[in-house]
Symmetry: C2
Amino acid sequence: MSTDELMSALSQKALALLREDAYKIEQLIQVQMETLTNRRCPLYEEVLDTQMYGLSREVDFAIRAGLIEASEGKEILNKLERNLANLYEALNKQQSE
Amino acid sequence: MSTDELMSALSQKALALLREDAYKIEQLIQVQMETLTNRRCPLYEEVLDTQMYGLSREVDFAIRAGLIEASEGKEILNKLERNLANLYEALNKQQSE
């Protein structure tokens, strides 16, 4: 294996791990979206925020360690943040109805 | 550079980054230790806990990404946790006096 191949394998591994962790948060958001009929759950939002913070620290570390591009990390976080914003918007709309 | 050298350089970089982050938390603990005469500050403890959580996620990621050994990560976290436990013990002792 050449150094280029090793670097590429490590980067792909790092990206796969980050996407896996992002997917878990995605699932948490989905669950909350599907149970919108239930009343708002502050504990759930706290869990989501904590998970988002944890992922952002992982992404930041992967960038600093030279494993992924800053743009790749930003894309993962941005996508999740949009989903989270949609969830909170839906929750707020429901609450004001 | 051989693949062994690249892997070693990446591991050392990862460890240096984690120790740097651990050092920042260490500093936060020190500041709180030095101001023990002040009254206990729940917000400060919240910040410390959040920082510890963030670091533990970074360490876990570095292990899964194959950059560091599990034992190396554990050592960094254990050392910090001992310091944190000492801080809380000192705070509790002071509070009961």
